[in-house]
Symmetry: C2
Subunit: 447 residues, 2 copies
Amino acid sequence: MNDPLEEIFNLIKERKFKELKELISTLHAPDIAEAMEESSFKNSLLIFRLLPKDLAVEVFSHMEPPYQAEFSQLINEEELRELVNELNFDDKIDYLEEIPANLVKKILKNTPENERKLINQFLNYPEYSAGSIMTIEFIDLKKHMTVLDSIERIRRIGTDKETIYTCYVTDRSRCLEGIISLKELILASEDTKIEDIMSTEYISVNTLVDQEEVAEKFLKYDLLAMPVVDLENRLVGIITVDDVMDVIEEETTEDFHIMAGMQATEESYLDASVMELYKKRFPWLAILMISATFTSAIMENYSALIASMTILSANIPMLMGTSGNAGSQASTLMVRSIAVGDVEFEDILKIIWKELRVSSLIGVSLAILNFIRMYVLGKYTLALSLVVSATLIATIMTAKLVGSTLPLLAKKIGLDPAIMANPMISTILDALVLITYFTISSYFFKL
Amino acid sequence: MNDPLEEIFNLIKERKFKELKELISTLHAPDIAEAMEESSFKNSLLIFRLLPKDLAVEVFSHMEPPYQAEFSQLINEEELRELVNELNFDDKIDYLEEIPANLVKKILKNTPENERKLINQFLNYPEYSAGSIMTIEFIDLKKHMTVLDSIERIRRIGTDKETIYTCYVTDRSRCLEGIISLKELILASEDTKIEDIMSTEYISVNTLVDQEEVAEKFLKYDLLAMPVVDLENRLVGIITVDDVMDVIEEETTEDFHIMAGMQATEESYLDASVMELYKKRFPWLAILMISATFTSAIMENYSALIASMTILSANIPMLMGTSGNAGSQASTLMVRSIAVGDVEFEDILKIIWKELRVSSLIGVSLAILNFIRMYVLGKYTLALSLVVSATLIATIMTAKLVGSTLPLLAKKIGLDPAIMANPMISTILDALVLITYFTISSYFFKL
């Protein structure tokens, strides 16, 4: 995969610009964008100047948004305006969202009034909403048209459309009446009326719907594109599958980062500066460290018990580790099940009942295993072995119940469920483990 | 979203089958499949019998594979054979992979010899390879055809194809020469020759390439379909974007599960039985619990130290928690960066250098915070506060380095990087924390 990149760098080094121009014209836009991102600004600009105009626009649209913003400052205002004007509407919006407001103004200076209005409307859709990822470049048809009329219309206006494979049938007030795929058009006879073959049972979303919900529908119904309507069912845009795949990648990365106790980051690891990485990671680590002070307080509270039986403390790391692992199994499973739409809040009782059974089975099995390790194979007393095993059962069951229900509760009150599979849970579970363990020990050893 | 499901259940309860039939015919196949999966077998069969044949096939293809296998046993052999014969080729393969070999034989009994051969070839592609997710239902064109010829060919053979939006140009020995999109065909003039407008710089994969790599290419190049070729560049199938989205969902779920110390599961949470969930979760918990015995051994080794200074043990949960959190931040970031193709093994030195700087910054910041908490605000001695802070710096740096490099090493030797973001790492880190802490303490307190 890296060969074309290396070749580009070599040709630049040897200043063979004619060969470079030839090579570049055979490459795909995403690969050229990648080469530019990995080059110095000087070489990046050099590559850019060698690109034919159409390809230059495509390459620009494939750059990562932060790099787009940086790159914008390398070229002059006139060049930039031309470039941005040629972008697909949704790429244009993505770009304008990324750059400072005064640059947006400059770029839109010569844009016609009605397009500028539209752009401003799009820039105002909430982040992560269907409105923020849709495009206006779709094919609209009328239901009285014939298949032949429609194909002619597609021929006439199709070039700049994001997709021509799904067409949208609207009435005079732009309300969506049906959709029809190009496949259906191609396979139908030429004089068929659109209203006779269009599908009226289509899947659509409102502009304000969260992009995660959009992604779920694409997955469930195997869509290539989806219409976005406003509250009066007027068609305002469409979302295409390539943008949805980017959304899924982003949302998944966000979940992973949240679950590891980091703030979500859009930049790729190698591009992020040390300070940026520090800022994403430090806050949660600090919060968690301070929260863990509770565990120290609990241990100090039982310091007499520990002093009289130091062997007690030797099992604490194992107990905390096991309960944390059991909890994170349950919470991860639940976060993922919520994300792919397998479970909902209404299932909570079923889930609690299932987890009660699974966790008691696991708790008892691990307790037996632990008892064998400590008492049968090890040198521990019967009493201590029983105490540790009993603590295992109690804490595993707690961990599983807490881990599986908190993500559902988070979702219910409008939070991201992934927050509840965050290390915060382990810290809470650590405290619960210590309290349980010391309570059982005090009781058992009558201390 | 649940309303149609509820309506179905109500109509069944009231035995209003005519209304039920009407309602069902207005629903989308994925919704009907969902309703059937949530019904009793009896009602599921009832819904199925009310479906028009075409819709029945589509509904069947939208069932989860384990449910497909169960459902197959409800209908008679003749019905099943008819149903399976009507499936899209890739759905047929997916289904046949799921059911027992003797049932496969029965179903294929009346299949023509050459199709049976093809099916057996597909069933033999390695799991998770490009070959295992492709379909043979594509449009092939010849380069000497005109646009009009091509569109006529698409009209003639397009009905059963998985996609008609990308067409594949092959030579006499079925080698792939170029691809052309239906958009290009529609927008070109009718007498243009295919060879003049087809694209020869297409993205393709070999049958044996891992499905994750296929998914990465779809994401990078915004593809709707991708040709799959054998070692002689003969076109053997295509992969469509809807199947790739399912692959991404599966692979992501697998990563989440592995990272939480569970065996990956294909079934949805609510469908999985208690015993299945137990089997997925118990092995790792047991392994991790046994591994944690090392931590007990280390603590026992230092029991004299702990007995003389019980206050030492009070900081252990906080130290282990913080190091575990720091490690899982780094490993999660790395696993995700590898999965989306942001970093490769070759970047390892850059990564180590970056993590050294980030982790020393974080280590020092947390150490200062901890020192303030213990010495300035708390009632701890200067010596203990310094020991705990020094341990924090050392263990955070270790955790970050271990967490960020192990996933890369795993990838290098052909393992799933997610395994290295698994709780096993925390267990190793726990042991390292204890050793570091007690070593520093012994030295500092001259014990």
